[in-house]
Symmetry: C2
Subunit: 259 residues, 2 copies
DNA sequence: CCCGTCGTGCTTACGCCGTAAACACGGACC
DNA sequence: GGTCCGTGTTTACGGCGTAAGCACGACGGG
């Protein structure tokens, strides 16, 4: 009401306390006009920086120099925005899918590359990996963190193309996704998301320290427990899984070998 | 579980033999007066019934026949309520810990029982398992879904008490939690949380169906993919993990051996 | 018996949230 | 120049978490 926009000719004295920053369009060249991809990318950036629960439509708007409601031209709502963010991040992996498909190196190489690709994503975006992990997939059968039919198809192709039976390929898909999800979710949560949080007067210092007296083994093993062996663990479990799958494959090829 | 049975007849004025500082007033004539445990239990019930995102302080109040703000006498806020819920549900497993510790059956039996116990919790409360899985643990080193120092201690005790080196026990803990988390999170998310949802005009029927044309393998394997093999998978992976651990144990006992 | 005290739940209020709806405005095309 | 359309803005509404103060009933000491 009281805020009358200064007419164009007048000298805008910017010190007025009650004048909002009306910043419809910068002088001269207009700003690039926002589209879905840009919104989603900004959201990824924002989450990486401030964490998931800090993401708000209005704050996202501000982060883009825009008024919050503007986002609704490009996403259907907050949920859709989050879906889009997950999809965008997962699709980072698609750099060029043929790399992952490269048949000349066999299915084990494929699974290795894929696993490391997913792990890189998880480590690059620890704050939103829980989202990738827990958001219900768009299609049934598609299991996080391999969240797309495209990946499912390529996974099945890689295995059935190298001698796996249909059943074995499906079982492998399930074992593989479980492995990725468990390891990576724990790895990102263990590192603790850094976050430059807007708030953070956290001060529960030794709530655990005190009770450690009751848990002598935990106390004794504390040094071991706080070592970060994620990478080695991941590698070892992956190796183990691949061996298991190879055993399945070998046995399925010669049917009559029951001990 | 039922720690709170009213003593028979006798003197009703004294309900609590030993409480904190002063007497908490026993119920008079009106309704039983709400306490933290009851609030948390009601929240578990509510989440099981309506899902996580339906949980609201006011709705929780209504669910308890109370005015929402009343909850703040017993929980510090929404976050604290959720923490309490997770703790409460996880503690269901504690029915009697000696069952899990029973040393006469060895560490493998212990890990089996524990795994099945956690799985039961996950299946009983599918809507809040994601919470159990992703909420940052109170203490470092404690990994979901085994969310307490008590369990960490008992786990380490079981293994080191049966010949595992410190390093091997810690590695086993990590492998075991990864296994549980991956399998159970996918299992509960796959079954799709039922939820009598307050809203649910969901009608995206075949959004995936159409695109199936592009994914011939997925379409061919669809029947296999939609089978629910969770239980068998879980059993098999658990078995495999235990074998792996046993191998580690055996090898650590005779240092320079070859099969 | 009354009266202060205290624990419990209720009421009110504030600021932020997601989002529906109407509006303003600048460029594209005729 | 007019018209349209795509974009961002304004305003508004109901619901959220929660801070603060109030009402009331049960207790214990006089």
């Amino acid at each position: 009401m009281a805020d009358d926009a200064a007419p164009p000719g007048a000298v805008p004295t910017d010190g007025q306390p009650h004048t909002r920053a009306l910043r419809a369009s910068p002088p001269g060249t207009g700003r690039t006009p926002l589209d879905r991809r840009r919104v989603l990318a900004a959201a990824v950036e924002f989450i990486d920086e401030h964490g998931l629960e800090a993401l708000t439509m209005r704050r996202m708007g501000a982060h883009l120099g825009v008024e919050g409601m503007a986002l609704y031209r490009h996403v259907a709502g907050r949920e859709d925005l989050l879906d889009g963010v997950v999809e965008l991040v997962v699709d980072e992996l698609y750099g060029d899918p043929e790399v992952y498909l490269a048949p000349e190196h066999g299915w084990q190489d494929y699974l290795q590359r894929l696993a490391h690709g997913v792990r890189r994503i998880a480590l690059d975006h620890p704050a939103l990996f829980p989202l990738i992990a827990t958001r219900p997939p768009a299609a049934p059968w598609v299991r996080p963190p391999l969240r797309s039919l495209r990946w499912l198809e390529s996974f099945l192709e890689a295995l059935t193309g190298h001698g796996f039976s249909d059943e074995a390929a499906v079982a492998a898909y399930r074992a593989y996704t479980s492995f990725l999800l468990g390891h990576l979710l724990l790895e990102v949560s263990q590192r603790g998301v850094p976050i430059t949080a807007l708030d953070d007067p956290e001060g529960a210092p030794d709530a655990g320290e005190r009770s450690l007296a009751e848990y002598p083994l935990v106390r004794r093993l504390a040094p071991l427990l706080s070592e970060d062996e994620s990478a080695a663990e991941f590698e070892e479990s992956l190796e183990n899984l691949l061996e298991r799958l190879q055993r399945v494959l070998r046995e399925s090829r010669r049917p009559g070998s029951t001990p």
